[in-house]
């Protein structure tokens, strides 16, 4: 029966091959369709973040249905039942629905998805940009820190050398340089000399002319300039086979001089001198100079310039200060020298003045006295000439001088007339000098114990001696009682005296006192004060004589010629220490210069032609000291060179004297010798060259 079956009989065309291919393709499509959602699910599950799950489900459903459709299609190639057809249709319908839904959904979603991608790209770009900027900021901050550190290091010292050395060291460290060098201009300014390097300990004395093009190129700008590693300023060390020399940068460092400082234009316009700093990157490395590094170098160069200028200022000011100090010291010395010179000159003038006036006064006085005596006309003329010569120079004063002589003064006295006259002249001269007006009175009297005398002086006149007192009173300037003790000291000057015509005590009073003492007397000055005048008084011991002239050989000569034996060189030989000391004291008191010896050998050694007298002690018994007299005679052949020989002995009987004479002694003295005795003996001896004391 040919019924219409519900089965749809597919066309079983003749081309079974085609059918077969379709069959296979459908199968594979189905498989793919089923596997894709699986994959999707798997990967979605794997990634937690996926916003469009619903879409995926939709898509999955769509694909599953498509796959199902194609799968079901497989059954439709052969005869298939209605059920299959139904299923097929259902599947297709569903698929159609889902795919339409998906298509519709995709329309909304795909733009979103696309925009996600662009956003992602955008963000990535942004992130990269920020990274770059971060890097930049960091490097800038680094640079800034380095600059600050460098500046601090450089500016922490004011020593030029340290500044430059520190700069190179810090730069080398910061930038990890291979070599760093500083070229300074020479004095002449025509060359650059290698002054400092980082690595080399002793830079070679290396100069390059300053007019090189590469140098000009650097000096022209304030920026750091890249230069060739082969330029002369960069060729610091012998190239030791390095393949690629590191890049080199050079920058100028302005050297500021004080004279270049102008407040308003700093410093570009006024500097002319630059130093050159050369920095080399390590060789054989691919490093290159970065912009921030160049900036760093420029900043450092400026800082160095500032630091150097500070150092220069400091040097300058220290030099100026040292100069000032030196000048001060020199000025001080000069001032002190000048003061000393002035003082010396004043002293000299004062003394000279006084010393010249004093004799002049005496000359005037004596000449005036001479005028009063009997003179022939010629003599009178001469005296008047003398007076006329001197008087105009000295101050002429009108001072009446009165003389009072006590009635009990002896008529004839024995003493040292010359020295007495000198004393009187000195005192009267002083009185005249220090009195502007008034009168001067000179009184001479015999001193008595009940006279008002200094309480320490007891006067006991003997029969043959008396004490003469002379008082010279003036109404002149007077003296402060406190100054009186100083008057008799040599060269002492007091204020009150020094103000008077540059005169002082000088030597006058000191010498007068000495003479008075030699005459066993005393001299003093009384004054009630400044402006109340002054009285000079002296006592001297003089001998009373009954005759006007002396005859015979006196024990005490009338006119001893040599009372003052100042500086007379004598030699004393005595074994006994005590008597030696006493004899020496005696002679010293008389003013001699005494040498002592204690044995005759020593005496012979010491005696010389400078000694005028030799006193030898011949007391020691059993020892012939007279031999020495002979030896001295032998030593000094010329008579005037030989010292006079005097024996000091304990007894002066005839035999001793004869013995002395026979040994060539010039005199004999009995020990112990008194002062008067010695004085007289010495003067006689020196006058007559021989003395034998009458016993």
């Amino acid at each position: 029966m040919m019924e219409v079956c519900n089965c749809i009989e597919p066309q079983w065309p003749a081309d079974e091959l085609l059918m077969k291919y379709q069959y296979i393709s459908d199968f594979f499509i189905a498989v793919a369709y089923f596997s894709i959602p699986l994959e999707l699910i798997y990967f979605v599950k794997k990634s937690a973040v996926f916003p469009y799950r619903w879409v995926l489900v939709q898509f999955g459903a769509f694909i599953v249905l498509c796959g199902a459709t194609h799968l079901i299609n497989l059954w439709t190639f052969t005869t298939h039942s209605r059920t299959v057809a139904l299923v097929m249709t259902t599947a297709k319908v569903l698929t159609a629905v889902v795919s339409c839904a998906t298509a519709l959904m995709l329309v909304h979603i795909i733009p979103d998805l696309l925009s996600v991608k662009t956003r992602e790209l955008f963000l990535k770009n942004k992130a990269a940009e920020l990274d770059r900027e971060m890097g930049l900021i960091r490097t800038q901050e680094e640079t800034g820190r380095h600059v600050r550190m460098l500046t601090h290091e450089i500016r922490s010292t004011l020593d030029r050398h340290t500044i430059l050395k520190t700069t190179l060291v810090e730069l080398g460290r910061t930038l990890a340089l291979e070599e760093c060098a500083l070229w300074m201009p020479t004095r002449t300014g025509l060359e650059l000399q290698l002054s400092y390097t980082l690595r080399q300990q002793h830079p070679v004395e290396y100069t390059v002319p300053i007019q090189l093009p590469v140098i000009n190129q650097v000096f022209v700008t304030s920026r750091a300039v890249k230069i060739s590693p082969n330029s002369p300023v960069a060729r610091l060390r012998p190239v030791s086979g390095k393949y690629l020399l590191g890049e080199v940068v050079a920058v100028r460092v302005p050297l500021l001089h004080l004279s270049n400082f102008q407040i308003n234009d700093w410093p570009e316009l006024s500097t002319k001198r630059y130093a050159l700093m050369v920095l080399m990157l390590p060789s054989d490395s691919a490093r290159q100079w970065h912009v921030h590094e160049l900036e760093l170098v420029e900043v450092v160069a400026d800082q160095v310039a500032v630091a150097l200028s500070h150092a220069a200022i400091l040097e300058e000011s220290m030099r100026a200060r040292d100069l000032l100090m030196e000048q001060n010291v020199a000025l001080d010395i000069a001032r002190r020298e000048a003061e000393t010179a002035i003082r010396a000159r004043n002293d000299f003038l004062a003394v000279m003045n006084h010393e010249m006036r004093t004799p002049m006064h005496a000359i005037i006085a004596l000449s005036s006295l001479l005028q009063e005596t009997e003179l022939t006309p010629e003599q009178r003329l001469m005296v008047e000439t003398v007076l006329n010569l001197i008087k105009p120079i000295a101050v002429v004063k009108k001072l009446p001088i009165t003389l009072n002589l006590a009635p009990d003064l002896p008529e004839f006295v024995v003493g040292d007339e010359k020295r007495l006259m000198q004393i009187i002249l000195n005192i009267v001269g002083n009185a005249v000098k220090f009195s502007k007006q008034g009168s001067i009175s000179v009184t001479a009297l015999v001193t008595k114990s009940d006279n008002r005398a200094p309480p320490d002086f007891f006067v006991v006149p003997t029969g043959s001696h008396f004490y003469l007192r002379v008082k010279v009173k003036d109404l002149g300037a007077g003296i402060n009682p406190q100054d009186i003790p100083k008057l008799f000291t040599k060269f002492a000057q007091t204020q009150s005296l020094a103000t008077r015509s540059s005169g002082g005590s000088g030597l006058g009073l000191a010498i007068s006192k000495r003479f008075v003492n030699l005459m066993e007397g005393n001299i003093w000055i009384e004054s009630e004060g400044v402006g109340k005048g002054c009285t000079a008084i002296f006592d001297v011991k003089l001998g009373i004589s009954n005759e006007s002239k002396q005859s015979g050989i006196p024990k005490v000569p009338a006119n001893p010629q040599h009372v003052n034996f100042a500086g007379l060189k004598v030699l004393v030989m005595d074994e006994n220490g005590v008597s030696r000391m006493v004899t020496k004291g005696l002679l010293v008191h008389l003013g001699c210069e005494v040498a002592t010896v204690s044995s005759s050998e020593e005496c012979l050694r010491v005696v010389s032609h400078e000694h005028r007298v030799v006193f030898m002690d011949v007391c020691t018994p059993g020892v012939e000291n007279y031999q020495i007299a002979l030896r001295i005679h032998e030593k000094f052949t010329k008579r005037h060179q030989r010292p006079l020989l005097v024996a000091l002995t304990g007894n002066t009987d005839k035999s001793t004297k004869e013995r002395c004479m026979s040994f060539g002694l010039d005199g004999v003295l009995l020990k112990p010798v008194s002062l008067d005795n010695m004085r007289n003996v010495l003067s006689d001896l020196l006058e007559h060259r021989v003395l034998y004391e009458a016993m």
């Binding site: 320490d456 000391m581 004899t583 008191h589 020990k671 112990p672």
Partner: protein, 155 residues
């Protein structure tokens, strides 16, 4: 009313005069005083102390020499006495000098007992003179400290 200075000065003068009158000192001491001036202000004191040192030394020598019983070197003693005589006459120690004269005679006659006796006397004498002169110098110092000046005593 006597001031302290005047009292001291009078004491000094009296003491000095007594020393002379008792024969301790003679003119030579006066001569010594004349030699004292500003240039040598302590001349007398120096000479006198040197003299006493000398005395001590010489007396020691003589004592040692006289101790050599049986073997006394009289010439040594004699030369020491001579020295002492010279020294004492140089300073004006009158009594000591007088004793030395006697002593010398004993030495010349080689009288041992005489020498010993003289030595003792000399020892006593110089020590006594030393004490007296010390007193005199003390008086001088007191006067100076009291502000006065040492009086010049003429005998």
């Amino acid at each position: 009313m006597d001031t302290l200075v005047a009292q001291l000065q009078r004491q000094f003068r009296d003491y000095t005069i007594s020393l002379y009158h008792q024969g301790f000192l003679d003119d030579q001491f006066t001569e010594l005083k004349k030699l004292q001036d500003e240039c040598s202000p302590d001349f007398v004191a120096e000479v006198v102390s040197l003299f006493f040192e000398d005395c001590e030394k010489l007396i020691g020598n003589m004592a040692r020499a006289l101790d050599q019983t049986g073997n006394v070197d009289f010439s040594l003693v004699g030369s020491s006495v001579h020295q002492l005589k010279g020294s004492s006459s140089s300073v004006g120690a009158k009594r000591v000098k007088g004793l030395c004269v006697t002593f010398k005679e004993c030495c010349d006659s080689q009288s041992f007992e005489g020498c010993v006796r003289c030595l003792q006397q000399v020892d006593i004498e110089y020590k006594s003179l030393k004490a007296k002169l010390q007193d005199l110098f003390n008086l001088e110092q007191q006067i100076v400290q009291a502000g006065g000046r040492i009086p010049q005593v003429d005998i």
